[in-house]
Amino acid sequence: MSVDINIKKDLGNFKLDIEWKSESKRIGILGASGSGKSLTLKSIAGIETPDDGFIKTDGRVLFDKGKKINIIPQKRKTGYMFQSLALFENMSVEKNIKAGAGKYADEKTRDIMDKFGLADKASLFPSQLSQGQKQRTALARIIASEPDTILLDEPFSSLDRHIRDEVQTSLIDMLKNFKGTVITVSHSFDEIYALCDELIVIDKGRVCACGKTEDIFSKPPNRVSAMLTGWENIAFAESREDCIYIPDWDIKLPLYKKDVSYAAIRSNSFSLTDKGDMLCFCVGEHYIKRGPFDCTVYFKPSEKTLKKMCFKLPSYEDIPSKIYLDKKDILIIS
């Protein structure tokens, strides 16, 4: 088991109650701001102390309230990459990396700087580096400390969009040779999708979904997971005697399960042509959110409702009067 966690922490106005096990070496934690994902990560690193429970990584007990075990952060062997990167501003790149390198620090630092392409930046201070170089220095510093687990807290949120992809790719590349567990926390589903094999979704301090990343993205088990994994259209659904009815969109679907709460549709599931037995929506009054490479059209799928639905188009010049949707593309959430 690479991670086995069961922790509780009461912060007065917020309660964290996380229970999750995972075999995977690349785990993602997805959650909205204030959902408790960073608190979970900090508890693993020993920066925060849970009120109760236990934390095990790779079979090693880091915290166990019952057994009175609470290993200090220095001995946990967890490398934490902060959102702010938390580089030591008064130290050069070389000294930053050497700071946690322990034995054979000089050799190790030299090797790691070579691998991370920082050899020519050794004497520079963090304030003299680009955002991407800072990111590399922060990761190099963590790798030099030889951790068993790397914790990435919103690793790309401080980056400008134009360098985010580049840094993300190089981070994936640099982590390729890391044999330990990597836990990434983010509120951005595309970052999580790119980095993680297994996913935990946290909502209001509790795990609301966990499983293979692809599975949760394709079939989120609840509304929060659907929202966080990029399902743009979500509406109440109810099971009737003979059908599943979605009042906001005025859609009836064959009744194939009774336990129904929500329906969700991805905005890119819509089609401009009817491929047979598809639902048809008239795009009447609408507004367009323009993006650089596509646009999102918001329209009312039914006269009976105020709730809008959206679909994506490659261009905003030709808005169709009708749009089609395969019923199979409607996800019914229990």
Binding site: Q74, T78, Y80, F88, A99, G100, F125, I142, S145
Partner: protein, 220 residues
């Protein structure tokens, strides 16, 4: 010309600043890591000497270190250490009064340091003493430098507690502040003015040095 008041004041200022620097930083660092309740209590206790009148602090010290009382007599009997009317008295009085300045500045400076940087150092496996000297102190350098200068200035100029504990013995415990008070009482305004100018020059140099050091940090 008897320069002894200046020498005694400078010696006292330097020794007290050095003591306050190390003890103040260590105390501030320890208290920075504790919970809020302990912080409130210790903060109030350590700041007290700065708030009460120096003569009141001097009176308490006089009671504590009197050879007729347990601590004073213990020090004298066991180690032959006398505090009252000695230069050691000058140091203790100035330390008690000026230590809160160093402590409070150091604590405020540590509070300003990005907590993530300290946490990062811990997760990298750095020892606490190394985190303090290599990470926290450089990051809090502004506050520590200004705290040291204020402590030095306060220790140099200490009058109330020093006069109560150490007295005003020429060449032994008479500091510049005490000299100014004494010559003014004697009506020697020329001598008083001279010592005031000396004190002002020293204070100016200390603040100037502080600004030069701080501006170097800012440039970095």
């Amino acid at each position: 010309m008897d320069w002894s008041p200046l020498i005694i004041s400078l010696k006292t200022g330097i020794v007290v600043t050095a003591l306050s620097f190390f003890i103040g930083i260590w105390t501030a660092w320890k208290i920075y890591g504790t919970n809020n309740k302990i912080k409130c209590f210790t903060d109030s206790l350590l700041t007290l000497p700065m708030v009460i009148p120096p003569t009141a602090a001097g009176f308490i010290l006089l009671l504590v270190f009197s050879t007729r009382r347990p601590i004073g007599s213990f020090l004298f009997d066991k180690f032959n250490i006398r505090v009252i009317q000695t230069w050691l008295g000058c140091i203790i009085a100035a330390f008690v009064i000026s230590f809160p300045l160093m402590y409070r500045n150091a604590r405020a400076a540590f509070e300003q340091v990005d907590k993530d940087v300290i946490y990062a150092a811990r997760t990298l496996g750095m020892r606490e003493s190394r985190i303090l000297t290599r990470v926290a102190m450089p990051a809090a350098a502004h506050g520590l430098v200004s705290g040291s200068v204020l402590t030095f200035a306060r220790a140099m100029g200490e009058y109330g507690a020093t006069s109560m504990l150490a007295g005003n013995i020429a060449g032994k415990t008479a500091t510049v502040s005490q000299k100014i008070a004494m010559v003014t009482q004697d009506g020697d305004y020329f001598a008083a003015g001279f010592w005031v100018i000396v004190v002002m020059i020293i204070a100016f140099i200390a603040i100037l040095l502080m600004n030069i050091v701080l501006s170097r940090f800012i440039r970095r």
